[in-house]
């Protein structure tokens, strides 16, 4: 009754990138390997490759974002695509146009790929389901559901420091309940075979059935949770959590879950510290940790461009194969 995986074409090639869920390990590895190749592009004098030349990529952001939108834009331009930036939160929908109408209008402009950020879980699936058959959709974050390019750039960053996923334990600290980033990281880590994925936070921020539904070990105590882990991922804490009875104050949160040099000593001596940004210094972590030797936070940003280039070029590659019944080289 349900489509097996709306992200793949008939040959199993990546057509849309909506979520990590349901993707085989080989496809994730292909994304990582491809991104590796694109890292060098930034260091060339001419920072461009022609893989998406002649293609039109529309950044369709229903939620404001600076970093993600910018890295998608840069990635598209390095692939030689033409880029449209649409900040829909302030235009069409405000005039009463439905999401589907917006989509149809952009399709009429012969867009080849939509990069979508939307506040509702499932929005990218919805757009992929209703888009014209030749269009690809990349999810740049939908509600609490998924942010797969962020998840993959984090895997890419981890792999640079810890090449063997099977040997690492990862702890994700903070607001798991509302985090699309955490969901994508957990799915990617489990698909890539990480030895253990832990989540750490108060009960208000960790779904009751997280262990069963997400495949993680749940901890409510930071020191216990980060003991011996190889990677510590701190999630961003939204200010509004303080006004909806989920947390009493930033102060208490930092007291209990804030990462300090001293606490980090519980983790493996070579542990790295990650954060999807932007950081609330003194809330999620102290500045010494954010700027410390174990922090790879700025690497994450750089890697984001390479990962997005990898995903975009794979989906466009699948479009180019369309109708020829061919299998892409990966998987």
């Amino acid at each position: 009754m349900k489509t097996p995986n709306p992200q793949l074409d008939g040959q199993g090639n990546l057509k849309h990138f909506l979520t990590i869920e349901g993707l085989r390990r080989e496809i994730l590895v292909e994304i990582l390997d491809r991104a590796e190749g694109f890292l060098g592009v930034a260091k060339q004098a001419v920072k461009k490759v022609p893989l998406c030349r002649g293609k039109v990529i529309a950044n369709l952001f229903f939620e404001t974002s600076t970093r993600t939108r910018t890295t998608f834009e840069l990635a598209a331009k390095r692939l030689s695509a033409d880029v449209l930036n649409l900040n829909v939160s302030t235009s069409a929908t405000a005039k009463g146009e439905t999401l589907l109408d917006t989509l149809r209008n952009l399709e009429a402009m012969h867009v080849d790929m939509f990069v979508v950020r939307h506040g509702s879980s499932g929005a990218a699936h919805f757009i992929a389901t209703h888009a014209a058959p030749h269009v690809s959709v990349i999810n740049a974050g939908d509600g609490r559901h998924s942010h797969p390019t962020q998840g993959m750039l984090d895997m890419f960053t981890i792999r640079h420091h810890k090449p063997d996923f099977a040997a690492i334990k990862v702890a994700i600290v903070g607001d798991i309940l509302h985090s699309r980033v955490a969901r994508s990281q957990i799915l990617a880590l489990n698909t890539l075979g990480a030895s253990e994925v832990r989540v750490i936070g108060p009960r208000t921020l960790i779904p009751e059935c997280a262990a069963e539904a997400l495949g993680v070990r749940v901890f409510h105590d930071l020191l216990e949770g980060i003991r011996d882990v190889d990677v510590v991922i701190m999630l961003r804490l939204q200010r509004e959590r303080m006004t909806s009875a989920l947390l009493p104050s930033e102060h208490e949160y930092f007291q209990l879950y804030g990462l300090t040099e001293e606490r980090l000593a519980q983790a493996h001596p070579d542990a790295i510290v990650m954060h999807p940004g932007p950081i609330n210094r003194g809330v999620e972590m102290e500045s010494q940790v954010a700027d410390g030797t174990r922090s790879v936070i700025l690497e994450q940003v750089t890697n984001g461009i390479a990962i997005r280039m990898a995903v975009m070029s794979m989906c466009i590659g699948t479009q180019n194969l369309a109708g020829r019944g061919e299998k892409a080289p990966y998987g």
Partner: protein, 432 residues
């Protein structure tokens, strides 16, 4: 045929659970009433004979909740379109919730709906009056006047009263006139912003959850108030195992409470949301398999004495949005009978019991003398072929709402004729 006043329905398997009847026999109707079962009275000359060999003949179904969308939301459906679909589904009486525009909070709106339905003549429509003005949960309605205008029960539709004080007073005032309150147990704070059962699937899909406690907290409050006030309350559309257990426990203590379940809750679970299937966006949400099984057992045991369509027809646009933004509800009239029969096929309850939950059970909850074929009773009759196979599609559905997760699934059991007060309001031709 429409003018026939004397009808004999012959050789059908007559099932009338209210009278403990289940045998092959004839049913004779005259002047809109049941005249006799078995032998026709001496000198009876039917104007028309309906052959019902191989068919089930039973009381017309009574549906506790079917939205008709008129007045106010005619882009979704109309009284004419939906009552016609009801007639084709064997439903002769249906209760429509008060969340029309305007709300059914004055006798004028109640009468308008009743009269419009009567003019079209496909089904008996009993409007549920609003408990509070504008369904705003602040000031109670003119309940006595609504009762006189034809509202057998009062309801808040799916907008529960937040104030416990207002809820208490609505119960007391309604009890003054012997009016039952239809309550959707859903705590407005705990359910705020939610669109799926808070559990395994919503956690994975990142859908804002509606916890089970949203239902049980509301039930606990309303049972305590019913106990205190002596009011007669009915929980519309239960969704969880715990809710059913709480209701059963209160009933044992003598609290005047009853409950029903929407038919789709007996088949679908949270797992059906996978892939963000907006046709399965419901409130109360689809919960776990354990919950579904408990609802089935409660229906079989009679703790839930009615199953209803919970019909909510929508225009296509209402479902063409990202999941959390879609409007909840299933267009359910036309799949009510075949799904109910699927319960029989799956061994949940026997045919007579399932018909009871569609007829006398809901009629008793509404407090109306319908849902049975005792001589002298209204000649509301459904004749169906329990083995007919058909597939609901947007083309075959009569309802204007095509929002159903059961589209393109083969169904077994289909109505062949429906009589309302002895008048054929639906007959399936050979080519249908």
């Amino acid at each position: 045929m429409a003018d026939a006043v004397r009808i004999s329905i012959r050789n059908g398997r007559l099932i009338d659970p209210a009278n403990g009847l289940d045998r092959e026999t004839d049913l004779h109707l005259a002047d809109g009433r049941v005249l006799a079962i078995g032998e026709a009275p001496a000198g009876f000359q039917p104007d028309r004979i309906l052959e019902a060999g191989g068919r089930i003949v039973c009381p017309g179904f009574v549906d506790l909740s079917a939205r008709l969308r008129e007045p106010g939301l005619e882009q979704k459906a109309t009284i004419a379109s939906e009552t016609k679909a009801a007639a084709a589904s064997g439903i002769t009486t249906l209760c429509c919730p008060p969340d029309t525009t305007p709300v059914i909070d004055t006798p004028a709106v109640a009468q308008l709906i009743g009269q419009t339905a009567q003019r079209h003549g496909f089904a008996r429509v009993l409007p549920a009056g609003a408990m509070t003005q504008g369904l705003e949960g602040r000031q109670i309605t003119e309940m006595a006047a609504l009762k006189l205008a034809g509202c057998p029960v009062l309801s808040q539709a799916d907008r529960p009263v937040r104030s416990t004080q207002v809820q208490r007073r609505a119960m007391e005032y309604a009890a003054t006139f012997g009016l039952t309150l239809f309550l959707h147990p859903l705590d407005p704070d705990l359910s705020s912003g939610g669109c799926a059962h808070e559990g395994r699937v919503s956690t994975r899909l990142g859908l804002p959850g509606i916890p089970e406690a949203a239902e049980t907290v509301a039930i606990a409050r309303d049972l305590a108030l019913a106990d205190q006030t002596g009011a007669r309350i009915h929980f519309r559309g239960l969704s969880s195992a715990r809710a059913v257990a709480m209701l059963a426990e209160a009933r044992r203590r003598g609290v005047r409470a009853s409950g029903d379940v929407g038919i789709h809750q007996l088949f679908l679970t949270e797992d059906d949301l996978d892939g963000f299937d907006t046709s399965c966006h419901l409130v109360p949400p689809l919960r776990t398999r354990t919950d579904r099984d408990a609802l089935r057992r409660a229906l079989a045991a009679g703790e839930l004495s009615a199953v209803c369509s919970d019909h909510q027809p929508h225009d296509a646009d209402a479902k063409l949005l990202p999941f959390p933004e879609t409007t909840p509800g299933i267009s359910g009239l036309e799949t009510l009978l075949p799904l109910a029969l699927r319960l029989v096929a799956e061994g949940v309850l026997d045919l007579s019991a399932v018909i009871a939950r569609l007829t006398i059970g809901p009629a008793e909850i509404l407090g109306v003398d319908l849902g049975h074929l005792t001589p002298g009773a209204a000649a509301d009759v459904c004749i169906f072929d329990p083995n007919a196979r058909w597939t609901p599609t947007p083309e075959t559905l009569l309802s204007h709402g095509e929002n159903s997760p059961f589209l393109y699934q083969e169904m077994r059991g289909r109505v062949t004729a429906t009589l309302l007060e002895g008048r054929a309001v639906f007959e399936r031709g050979d080519r249908d």
